[in-house]
């Protein structure tokens, strides 16, 4: 991918005193796609986003946002990025509408254009009813939506969303997903950090895994993704599943059960097809056959369970 589109990060490092928040992160995020930034708490996701958002300078490494360097040319980068912070701050005494108007004016829009843009955004995020109430009355989820609207004020081509779904109710999550997908389809580069992995599975086209301040190499991600993971099987007669699996060659001790079905380790899509065919041949009336964990969650948990070995994956 060329340097002039999307986000390109290579070998970025940042420490705060003795705390090495980001040690070595390298990744790319394409325009027109949603890229997930996945990692446990304290893995450096927010610090990385702060560097992308031109707020802190990296100690080393290189960042390009649509070809611009946030360190040497922050103004160009700021005109292009919309940043939604993980901290939900708002001017408590100002109304939702005024907040958006002032944000638009901070991006250099005139008063009339700012007012029109604020009205558009209030509708987009569904805060019409609360538009003229002070932001201190907003609930956490509503503040989250306001924060997203603030990030969209200047129609940015690169979106940096830090935990956008936290605090949202299920309906709002679906709306957020639809909105973010649409924003990406319109050609924007969207980077979303989250640890709600089920959420990201349906949202993201690509994923970057961060672990202890470093991005995980593509090889490790690939091997984690192909490692066996549990699939859940349900049938009209649950008792018929296990014997049929054993008959088709699955080791009896690897079969487990949970509240909703029988779990069996499967190493990939092809293996899944073979297992399902075996069940059907044995005459089991299968009603559900699906991975028990999402793709991202599976990879994430696997990476967590198998820490990087020395010399494995991370290159300086």
């Amino acid at each position: 991918m060329s340097d002039t589109a999307g986000i390109v990060v290579s070998g970025v490092r940042r420490s705060f005193g003795d705390v090495h928040a980001v040690k070595n992160v390298t990744f790319e995020a394409r325009p027109g796609a949603v890229t997930a930034l996945v990692g446990p708490n304290g893995s450096g996701k927010t610090t990385l986003l702060l560097m992308l958002a031109t707020l802190i300078e990296p100690d080393a490494g290189r960042i390009r946002i649509a070809g611009h360097d946030p360190v040497t040319d922050p103004v160009s980068v700021r005109a292009l990025i919309g940043w939604m912070p993980d901290v939900l701050g708002s001017w408590a005494s100002l109304t939702v509408r005024t907040t958006l108007q002032i944000t638009a004016r901070l991006y250099g829009m005139g008063a009339t254009r700012a007012a029109a843009r604020a009205d558009e955004l209030v509708r987009l995020i569904g805060l019409d009813d609360l538009a003229d109430r002070p932001t201190r009355v907003l609930s956490r989820g509503q503040k989250q939506r306001l924060s997203l609207a603030r990030a969209l004020v200047h129609d940015p081509s690169v979106l940096l969303l830090d935990e956008p779904a936290s605090g949202l109710d299920p309906t709002a999550r679906v709306e957020l997903r639809v909105l973010v997908r649409r924003l990406a389809q319109e050609g924007r580069t969207v980077l979303v950090s989250s640890h709600v992995l089920a959420e990201l599975d349906e949202l993201a086209d690509a994923a970057v895994y961060i672990e202890g301040g470093a991005s995980v190499s593509a090889e490790r991600v690939a091997s984690a993704a192909t490692r066996a993971r549990p699939w859940r099987i349900r049938a009209l007669d649950p008792g018929s599943i296990a014997p049929a699996l054993v008959a088709s060659g699955v080791a009896a001790e690897s079969i487990t059960a949970d509240a909703t079905g029988i779990l069996v380790p499967v190493t990939g899509e092809e293996h899944a097809a073979v297992v399902l065919a075996g069940l059907l041949q044995s005459g089991v009336a299968v009603t559900s056959f699906a991975p028990a964990t999402g793709d991202l969650e599976h990879t994430f948990l696997d990476l967590q369970a198998r820490p990087a070995e020395p010399g494995d994956g991370i290159r300086l």
Binding site: F16, G17, L50, M51, A53, T54, L55, I56, E57, P70, V71, P74, V75, R78, A79, I81, W83, P85, D86, V87, L88, G89, S90, W91, A92, S93, L94, T98, I102, T103, R105, L106, Y107, G108, P134, R150
Partner: protein, 347 residues
Amino acid sequence: MKLWAGIGVIVGLELRQRVRGVAWYVLLGVFVVLIGIVTVLVGLATTSFGGEDSGGWLYSLIIYFVLMLGTLIAPALSGNAINGEREAGTLATIQVTLVSATQIVLGKFLAAWIATLAFLVASSPFLVVAAALGGLSVGTVLVSLLVLAVELGVIAAIGVGLSAILGRPLFSIVVSYLAVAALSLGTLIAFGLGGVAIQSEVKATTVQAVYEDGSDSYTCGPPTVSTYSAPRFDLFWPILSANPYVVLADATPPQFSEYGSPTDLFTGVASLVRAVQVPPDLSPEFDYCNSATFEPGPSQEETYAKTVPSWFVGLLLHLVLAAGALSWAIARTKTPARKLAVGRRVA
């Protein structure tokens, strides 16, 4: 974005938040009531013994009162301008927009200054009352209002500066108050202690009249020399020039009566400060025998006339302090940030 456009948006943001809050109105109300009480009491006092043309005293007292309350209120209005916004999690959302750190800091400074000047505007009815009493010169009004406005701006600038330099809002507000106290009271204390600490020996020669018994005729006795030490306040008077009250008093054109005594508080304070410039006579001669040597001391007007003004030194020092605080604040608010203070939040 153009410098002033960005500053304008920040000023608008600050003032909108201010006018939506209750605290500012409460402060304004309390302020007006206090000024009202002072005006009535001082008005009664000055008209009862000052007679006509007592407007100068009343006016200068009100202005001093506005300066005092203004310096007490300005740190509260400015001392958390930047770190307060950081604590609320909104500073970073401003920093990622197209306004620069310079625009953010200057906008917040101007907004704090305007909010403080509102207190001066609120006191204007009482200033009009003072003017109606007569005896007030146009020069006094113009210069004192200008210097007062500048001094309030200096304090607003120091407050905003400290709010960017120090992390915690409470801490920066307290340090702003300490800065105000250092200028207003600290200069007085330093001046007083310095003058008392450095003393010079005075050799006074006294000649007494010796009366002969039972007659009015007398002869002059032998001169006697006594020594004592005198405080050298004249060495420390420049410290006083950094005091905002002294700057205000010294800058306004002096108003003396026909007998050479001050007709407003500014001239009174300035005369006292000017008199301190005169070094003590280290070898005075007191001749109580030859009455011809008795001379009346110089009037306050005469002393004022032969000593040097210092207000521009103090004012310049204040402006340098204000500019320094603001430029330090801009440097600390610049993003992308290289260094961060320990425990400081970015967003």
